[in-house]
């Protein structure tokens, strides 16, 4: 173990939780109590879940998207906590996805210095059954709704849109000394594995998204998804 380098790579899970606006902080403090070291809250926009609301333009909802990175030692506790929150009623309505992360780069805790035995960092056996896929589209600003409309026709139920900025260009476009950056929208859609390809294909075919430079998409395997705050019927 190198003394000057107090960082460490460990195996873990990424929880992406999508909850109603202003409930993000609550979720973060809950995960912290279960051992998470922090969380990052992004402000997202949920798309319509029904065609009628979509047609009326009433479907958008405000969301908080919470990213929680957890190493293997605390991930199960967080997972259990999220599952337990199912019984907490409407207040925390949302969804949480668990994604496997090969390497988390982090500062080592002082308490870990003694027993940073690499063997403890080995991954817990993961089940290979893949039920769901998280498709992520990074698109030029404004086009996430078009992509969502196409995805909905191919079977997706709903998605969440985040705002972002691109940094892909090799040199910045300047205007009076100001560097201009392209604005992006990030669309997250959680789908059944069997539908994923059809949805990607459908979005690919949208005319305004088939030009070069329109965007990029990738899909991630989701180990488990947890309905938050759903009251058992």
């Amino acid at each position: 173990m190198n003394d000057t380098d107090n960082t460490i790579y460990s195996h873990g899970k990424l929880f992406i939780s999508i909850v109603e606006r202003r409930h993000g902080e609550n979720l973060v403090s809950q995960t912290k109590r279960s051992g998470a070291r922090g969380g990052t809250i992004l402000r997202g926009r949920g798309t319509a879940t029904s065609a009628l609301l979509e047609m009326l333009g009433l479907g958008d909802t405000e969301k908080d998207v919470v990213f929680t990175l957890a190493t293997d030692d605390v991930a199960p506790a967080i997972h259990d906590m999220l599952r337990a929150s199912q019984t907490q009623g409407r207040k925390h309505a949302g969804i949480s996805m668990k994604i496997d992360v090969k390497r988390i780069l982090r500062h080592i805790l002082p308490t870990e210095l003694a027993d940073s035995d690499p063997s403890t960092q080995r991954s817990a056996s993961m089940n290979n059954h893949i039920g769901q896929i998280l498709i992520t589209f990074i698109l030029n600003k404004g086009y996430a709704d078009d992509a969502m409309a196409a995805a909905r026709k191919a079977g997706a139920t709903g998605g969440t849109i985040l705002n972002g900025r691109g940094t892909g260009k090799e040199e910045d476009v300047k205007f009076f000394g100001i560097s201009l950056v392209p604005e992006k929208e990030i669309l997250l859609i959680l789908v059944e594995a069997s539908q994923a390809d059809a949805i990607l294909e459908a979005v690919k075919k949208v005319p305004c998204l088939s030009e070069p430079g329109a965007g990029i998409a990738y899909s991630l395997e989701v180990e488990d998804s947890i309905q938050l705050g759903k009251t058992e019927a």
Binding site: I41, L58, T61, G142, D145, R165
Partner: protein, 499 residues
């Protein structure tokens, strides 16, 4: 669904106003059941209208305005950017119904001034300052110094102008930035700033509305400088006769409101369509969404204003009248404090601003905190306005110390909060204050034997001024808290490493 959560949020801010009026009606101002029912009905219309309007701006005006702002910057043509800014400001203002109302007020002070000329001047002023706002972001000029320079111009003009114009001029700054213009101008600013790289982008997102509201002040003051002055001051009739039937009050104002909102929205729609053809080329889906948003904003604003004009305006002046006539009229001051605190929460543009602030700061500056400091600000403002009604002090005694304080605070406050503060000045003085609060103040002033024109006008100027101070104080508090928490965090880490 958003509509439901919006309904819930707007109810929370409107219901307290209704409760206050109920309390007043059983204590000092017995206005009777008929008017109370009319007022409550107005409140319901306000809740529904406000929710619909906000929903519409969320999916229509704001996203498209932001895209227009970004697209303009990406063209990398300064002349185009400034010219478009000017045109947008000019066209939007010419169509703003509040400007027409203001022109009539000015005419009541000096009938020799032509309405059309004044409206033209105000629109030129707003156009110029929207242009300045764009230019400032691109050229990287500090918001503080731009403000200081132009407010010096304002006070220089104010020194030379006829005194009758003072209150109206400062009212104009707040009043002309109406509920339709504010979201669009604000969105443009956010859009322009959002394509800027670097951490300053957040700071440059706001401040457009604050600058735009300087335009009308200078325009009216300039008119006052050329006015022959000292013209006959007509007594302002506080209100029309109360309608006999509760429903009639609303039906009466409905067509007028549709016309007003239509006038305000018309040029905006034409501009958005022009932008779509020339600049944006959005997909059909996006255009459809924008149009839906515009329809909701239109309906929402019509319902909202019907509620305000039919329900809140007449009751405001009646209550003001009754309380002003009381032997202990100093009670106006606490009532003003309470009403001010409540009413600002029902201003449409306030909701739009706080939402944008929350969005741009990524949730760092919470809406609830913004609303609370705005509420305190407007509460103080209306309280001060009531002191003027009771004592008849000149507005100078308030404006000069107020603006000097606001300017001085810019040196201590983080730039982001300075920009938000000057925006909130224009935003807090929306249709609720220019009807309900103004009517209340006029009524109180008339019945307490004051001079409504000099005493009561100026209330909007106060509402536009005090938030400049309270929001900047909020900024200073934020800065201190952040410093402290960073220090605490460092200490914590050091301790942890030592252990």
């Amino acid at each position: 669904m958003n509509l439901l959560s919006k309904l819930r949020e707007t109810s929370i801010s409107v219901v307290p106003i209704i409760l206050i009026v109920f309390i007043l009606s059983v204590t000092v101002a017995p206005i009777g059941w008929n008017l109370l029912i009319q007022f409550t009905l107005g409140g319901v219309l306000i809740i529904v209208g406000l929710s619909l309007f906000l929903l519409g701006t969320d999916i229509g005006v704001i996203p498209v305005g932001q895209q227009v702002g970004s697209a303009l910057v990406k063209k990398r043509n300064l002349t185009l950017l400034l010219a478009t800014g000017f045109l947008v400001g000019f066209l939007i203002t010419i169509a703003e119904p509040d400007v027409q109302v203001l022109a009539k007020q000015v005419a009541s002070v000096d009938p020799s001034i032509s309405n059309t000329f004044l409206v033209l001047m105000i629109a030129l002023g707003v156009g110029f300052f929207v242009s300045v706002g764009f230019g400032r972001v691109i050229l990287g000029l500090s918001y503080r110094w731009v403000l200081i320079v132009f407010y010096l111009v304002v006070f220089l003009c104010a020194y030379f102008t006829a005194p009758g114009f003072l209150g109206i001029a400062f009212d104009a700054g707040g009043a002309t930035t109406g509920p339709m213009t504010v979201p669009f101008i604000m969105a443009l600013g956010v859009g322009v700033a959002s394509v800027r790289k670097g951490k300053n982008s957040e700071e440059e997102s706001f401040g457009m509305v604050g600058l735009a509201s300087i335009g009308p002040i200078i325009a009216v003051l300039a008119m006052g400088m050329f006015s022959k002055g000292g013209a006959a001051v007509e007594s302002v009739s506080a209100d029309t006769a109360p309608a006999t039937n509760v429903l009639q009050a609303f039906i009466h104002v409905f067509p007028e409101t549709i016309e007003e909102v239509g006038y305000a929205l018309g040029p905006l729609v034409l501009m958005l369509l022009a932008f779509q053809w020339l600049l944006l080329h959005m997909s059909r889906h996006q255009v459809a969404k924008m149009l839906k948003g515009l329809v909701y904003s239109f309906l929402g604003l019509v319902i909202f204003l019907t509620g305000v004009n039919g329900g809140f305006l007449p009751i405001g002046s009646t209550i003001g009248n009754m309380i002003g006539a009381l032997p202990y009229k100093a009670i106006l001051i606490p009532i003003g404090l309470v009403l001010g605190a409540m009413v600002v929460l029902a201003e449409p543009a306030v909701w739009v601003l706080t939402e944008q602030v929350e969005e741009v700061s990524g949730g760092h500056i919470k809406r609830s905190v913004m609303l609370a400091s705005l509420s305190i600000g407007v509460s103080i403002a209306v309280g001060l306005a009531m002191i003027r009604v009771v004592t008849g002090l000149s507005i100078w005694w308030f404006l000069i110390p107020g603006y000097v304080t606001a300017m001085a605070l810019t040196f201590f406050c983080p730039p982001l909060f300075t920009a938000i503060a000057f925006d909130s000045g224009g935003v807090a003085s929306g249709p609720m204050s220019s009807t309900f609060i103004l009517a209340f103040t006029l009524g109180a002033s008339a019945s307490s034997g004051g001079n409504p024109v000099t005493d009561a006008f100026g209330v909007i100027a106060m509402i536009a001024m005090i938030p400049l101070i309270t929001i900047q104080i909020l900024g200073i508090l934020f800065k201190r808290k952040e410093k402290r928490s960073t220090v605490e965090h460092l200490e914590h880490t050091v301790k942890e490493t030592l252990v």
